[in-house]
């Protein structure tokens, strides 16, 4: 049951895996067993119904308009017009079978209810007071992550790429700035909505290192399709290193090109929405760019991070992700070059 051969065949044959079944943490592991149970039940029931239908089809054909219909004896007229009575013995037999099937249905539904409840209980047991707390804030159409810490100066603000330590439970506090979004990484979690004015929580734990793609699952407007994020599960040491690095302010540019780029950033439109710690830019309406070059994607998982895409994104954001809140900018080529160099230096 761990790997259903058909499922395996289908997912290898089709390019992408059935990520939901590819459990990489204890939560999805539990959900996976419940899924397997339901899948098995469904397969059996569907097969039985289709076989019963086909059986009837093959067994007694040859009805026609001329065929005298059968109806219950008490409503068949005594003069015998129109219809003849059904065979009471056969009806009783069928009644017993139908009753049995109904009883089986009740039993199966009971099993599912219990399995569901026990899965819920098992998931609840996975909650841990030592969990790492991460605030997730949904924005149209990007994700803000705040890795919490008792020391306020060590609260890490980043966007669209989240690192989590392997083996340590993580608790996500979900909230939204605008409309309802929904958070799901198929290999790692179940799904939870981000609702304005309400705080939801979701537990997550990765058992093995890996990089996972998540995205928004509640329709949230024009760019719902391109509201993705990346979760990187790595060893606790790597995670701490990442965290400490991300907490650093952005490195001051040294190369003249990068310095000019910083000027472009600060004096141009960018600084109206984006923050880079260590500079004057502190706006919080767009993603925090302090270490943007350390991320693997741009535009909330929509593009890979490299110079070409970065330039395209700055100049042409509205044709890459139409309707998103980053305006397309018209920059002189030199300024653009400088800006690109500067942003790429923000490792």
């Amino acid at each position: 049951m761990k790997r259903l051969p058909i499922v395996l065949w289908l997912c290898t044959g089709c390019g992408g895996g059935l990520r939901m079944l590819d459990a990489r943490g204890p939560h999805v592991e539990r959900l996976r067993s419940l899924w397997d149970l339901l899948f098995l039940i469904s397969a059996v029931v569907l097969t039985a119904v289709v076989l019963a239908m086909l059986g009837a089809l093959l067994r007694r054909r040859g009805g026609s308009k001329a065929q005298v219909p059968e109806v219950e004896a008490h409503s068949v007229p005594p003069d015998g017009a129109g219809a003849r009575p059904v065979d009471p013995a056969r009806e009783r037999r069928m009644g017993r079978v139908v009753g049995l099937c109904a009883g089986l249905t009740v039993a199966v539904l009971f099993v599912i209810t219990v399995a569901n409840a026990s899965t819920g209980a098992a998931l609840a047991r996975l909650r841990s007071p030592e969990a790492l707390e991460i605030q997730v804030v949904g924005h149209q159409w990007w994700w803000e992550f705040r890795v919490q810490d008792p020391d306020p100066s060590r609260i890490l603000v980043t966007a669209n790429e989240l690192h989590v330590p392997v083996g340590r439970p993580v608790i996500l506090k979900l909230n939204s700035r605008d409309v309802i979004h929904s958070f799901w990484v198929p290999e790692l979690t179940n799904k939870r909505d981000l609702i304005p004015g309400q705080q939801n929580t979701l537990e997550l734990q990765a058992d093995r290192p890996g990089t996972f793609f998540g995205q928004c699952y509640e329709f949230c407007g024009i760019q719902h399709a391109k509201m993705g994020f990346v979760v990187v599960a790595e060893s606790p040491e790597q995670f701490e290193a990442w965290r400490n690095h991300q907490l650093q302010p952005a490195p001051q540019p040294t190369a003249p090109m990068a310095q000019r780029g910083q000027q472009v950033f600060l004096q141009g439109p960018c600084a109206l929405c984006h923050a880079i710690s260590g500079t004057g830019a502190a706006a919080s309406t767009g993603p925090n760019l302090t270490h943007v070059a350390s991320r693997s994607t741009l535009a909330a998982g929509a593009l890979p991070f490299d110079r070409g895409h970065l330039a395209g994104w700055i100049l042409n954001s509205q044709s890459l992700k139409p309707g998103n809140n980053m305006p397309a900018l018209t920059l002189p080529p030199d300024d653009l070059q400088a800006l690109l160099v500067y942003l790429e230096s923000l490792k």
């Binding site: 289908l10 089709c14 390019g15 992408g16 895996g17 990520r19 959900l31 899924w35 339901l38 469904s42 569907l46 119904v49 289709v50 059986g55 009837a56 007694r60 054909r61 040859g62 009805g63 308009k65 065929q67 219909p69 059968e70 409503s75 068949v76 007229p77 017009a81 129109g82 219809a83 059904v86 056969r90 009806e91 069928m94 139908v98 109904a102 539904l109 209810t113 409840a117 819920g120 998931l123 409309v179 309802i180 929904s182 799901w184 198929p186 179940n190 799904k191 939870r192 609702i195 304005p196 004015g197 939801n200 929580t201 995205q215 699952y217 329709f219 407007g221 024009i222 139409p322 309707g323």
Partner: protein, 644 residues
């Protein structure tokens, strides 16, 4: 004092003189002529046909939107349309299929068939019927007018706030959606009340509740569900419109409102809505099964009780659409249990039908094809429904393409397959000609193939993480092959529907003439001509068993004494359908149209200015006065004052 009569001399001739009777009935029930006559039509067969044809046109439009979406999704980063248009298209597709196709179609079939099946001459409230149709038409035209002018709603057929609220959906797009809801729900409610009262009060003598055809039961249960479900969405859409137009705070969390309140109200309607669509289909299925297995449906009582209990349980499980919103534990368990519970009556029905198949002698005609396919398709959808109703699993597959696969299996499998079966079954009654057999088989097999090819892969796409309502996806997600497969399936479905259209138009002209009863069927509508005359039955029938025509005695009595020089019908008692009194029904009139137009002015004008309420209110008062004002021919007038 009685009204002046046409040519036949007074007093009315002997009742059992059939020729005279027919002449009288034809004169009394004849529709008015010309365009005015067409607009003032109130007979249920005509209104029902209009519902069916209009809903079918909307089905085709919704299908075209589906094709556009499948084209856009056939490959990663395709540029068939941008996200703005795509969002409008998927919203239109959902809204069209739910509000403009499925519910009105079922309503139309019910309005056409129920009065015939229970043996009366018209629905209980003919003018209300016409009013319902016109409001429905106005709602549909409003939605599509808006769409063509780039004011198509784009917040999904569910219009979740705050996205659909004033801040995140500027312009008039969502307002148009909200008002379309109001129109179609008004129509739905009008039809539901009409069906309930027709079934309650106009059944042929002898058709007691326990002898009603299963189709009539299904329509009755459906109508009751409409009565209790649709007010929820009207309250919701009115609140939404007020939030958007006059600044109320129903859904503004900062001022004490709640975004989840919308979801509760919407799904309190939205889940029963599924059964509102699906239960009439069960009725069609039962009708077809009985005729083509040449026997009664096994387990009349369990099937009726199942439908009734689905009707009740259907109201208790709306929250399973909100499992991902972070509910308290108790809510999860309760609504999981409730959601699973609905599988029991559904299962019982399936078992009873299977037993019917086993106990009968199958007459393999096209209607039965669709019914047999229903078993495979609907049960698949039902089983994925069990998964979605299970809290823990739902939290994974919720809002992925798995859900898209699920509800297309349920709604197409549970409603469209039986509906097409019903089309092949009742087409001869409605038009007088049979649908072509050969094209019909092609239609069936391509539809079955195309359907499964389109929607089965979506299960896997959901498990691969593909969300619903996305206009595109990245190439690195690996979702392309299955999406392409689904698109191919959609094209095959389109071909199938084209074949169906060809078949319909061909058969209308050239189809084999059906005669009164081509199937040897049991229900009363097959006892009159095809298509039925404007008065439905020459003699109102009586009934002595569940399968009225199969159990009729050789000399089954007919009703006499109902006046044929007036639009008189027989009113019977609720439980045992014993004759109670005779009632006169109103004839063709333009007032329902005027009232519908006044309603239209009111609800469309308020989108732009609150004065719409005042203007529309005055117009409504005037038109309603016209509707209810007494007109000749008058019946016996009361003495001005009777001494007491």
């Amino acid at each position: 004092m009685s009204a002046p009569l046409p040519t036949p001399p007074e007093p009315p001739p002997v009742r059992d003189d059939e020729a005279w009777e027919r002449l009288y009935l034809e004169r009394t029930w004849a529709p008015k002529k010309g365009l005015i006559g067409w607009l003032s039509e109130v007979h249920h067969t005509e209104i029902g046909k209009r519902y069916i044809i209009t809903a079918f046109v909307f089905f085709l439009l919704g299908g075209i939107e589906a094709l556009l979406m499948r084209w856009q999704l056939s490959g990663p980063e395709k540029q068939v349309m941008g996200p703005d248009l795509y969002n409008q298209v998927f919203t239109m597709h959902g809204s069209t299929m739910m509000f403009l196709f499925a519910v009105p179609m079922m309503e139309g079939v019910g309005l056409y068939l129920v009065p015939l099946m229970i043996g009366t001459r018209n629905a209980a409230f003919p003018r209300l019927n016409a009013f319902g149709y016109w409001t429905y038409l106005i709602g549909g035209l409003l939605l599509y007018g808006g769409f063509l002018l780039n004011v198509g709603p784009d917040a999904g057929w569910f219009s979740y706030v705050p996205l659909a609220g004033p801040q995140y959906s500027p312009g008039k797009r969502v307002d148009i959606w909200a008002q379309m809801i109001t129109f179609t729900e008004l129509a739905g409610l009008a039809g539901a009340v009409n069906l309930i009262v027709t079934v309650f009060k106009h059944r042929a003598p002898g058709m007691s509740l326990n002898r009603m055809p299963l189709f009539v039961w299904a329509m009755l249960v459906k109508s009751f569900m409409v009565v209790f479900a649709m007010p929820a969405v009207m309250v919701a859409s009115t609140s939404l419109a007020m939030d958007r137009l006059i600044g109320t705070h129903f859904f503004n969390a900062a001022e004490g409102g709640d975004a989840l309140l919308w979801q509760h109200l919407f799904w309190f309607f939205g889940h029963p809505e599924v059964y509102i669509i699906f239960i009439p289909a069960l009725g069609m299925l039962s009708s077809i099964l009985a005729v083509f297995t040449r026997r009664q449906v096994f387990g009349y009582l369990p099937v009726v009780l199942s439908m009734v209990s689905i009707g009740f349980i259907g109201f208790g499980l709306w929250v399973h659409h909100m499992f991902a919103t972070g509910l308290p534990q108790l809510g999860q368990s309760f609504f999981t249990a409730a959601s699973l519970m609905v599988a029991l009556p559904s299962g019982v029905q399936i078992f009873c039908w299977l037993a019917t198949l086993w106990g009968g002698r199958l007459w393999l005609k096209l209607p039965l094809y669709w019914v047999l396919a229903f078993f495979a398709v609907f049960v698949t959808g039902g089983l994925t429904g069990v998964m979605l109703g299970t809290y823990s699993v739902d939290q994974q597959v919720h809002d992925t393409h798995f859900v898209v696969a699920h509800f297309h299996y349920v709604l197409i499998g549970g409603a469209v397959f039986p509906l097409f079966g019903g089309l092949y079954y009742w087409f001869p009654k409605i038009t007088g000609r049979m649908l072509g057999e050969r094209l019909g088989k092609w239609n069936f097999w391509t539809f079955f193939l195309g359907f499964n090819l389109t929607f089965f892969p979506l299960h896997f796409l959901g498990m691969m993480g593909m969300p619903r309502r996305v206009y595109t996806y990245g190439v690195e997600r690996g979702w392309q092959p299955l999406n392409l497969l689904a698109t191919v399936g959609a094209v095959i479905m389109a071909v199938s529907i084209t074949l169906l259209l060809v078949n319909i138009f061909w058969s209308l002209k050239r189809g084999e003439v059906a005669g009164n009863d081509p199937w040897g069927a049991d229900t009363l509508e097959w006892g009159t001509t095809s298509p039925p005359p404007s008065y439905n039955f020459l003699h109102l029938p009586t009934v002595r068993g569940r399968y009225a025509r199969w159990t009729a005695a050789e000399d089954q009595p007919v009703v006499t004494g109902v006046r044929s020089d007036r639009k008189e019908v027989l009113v019977t008692r609720l439980l045992d359908a014993a004759p109670d009194h005779r009632a006169e029904l109103p004839g063709p009139t333009l007032w329902p149209l005027w009232v519908a137009l006044a309603t239209g002015v009111m609800f469309i004008m308020v989108i732009f200015t609150p004065w719409g309420i005042v203007v529309g209110g005055v117009l409504l008062f005037i038109t309603l006065t016209g509707w209810f004002w007494p007109r000749p021919p008058y019946k016996e007038e009361l003495a001005p004052e009777q001494p007491s």
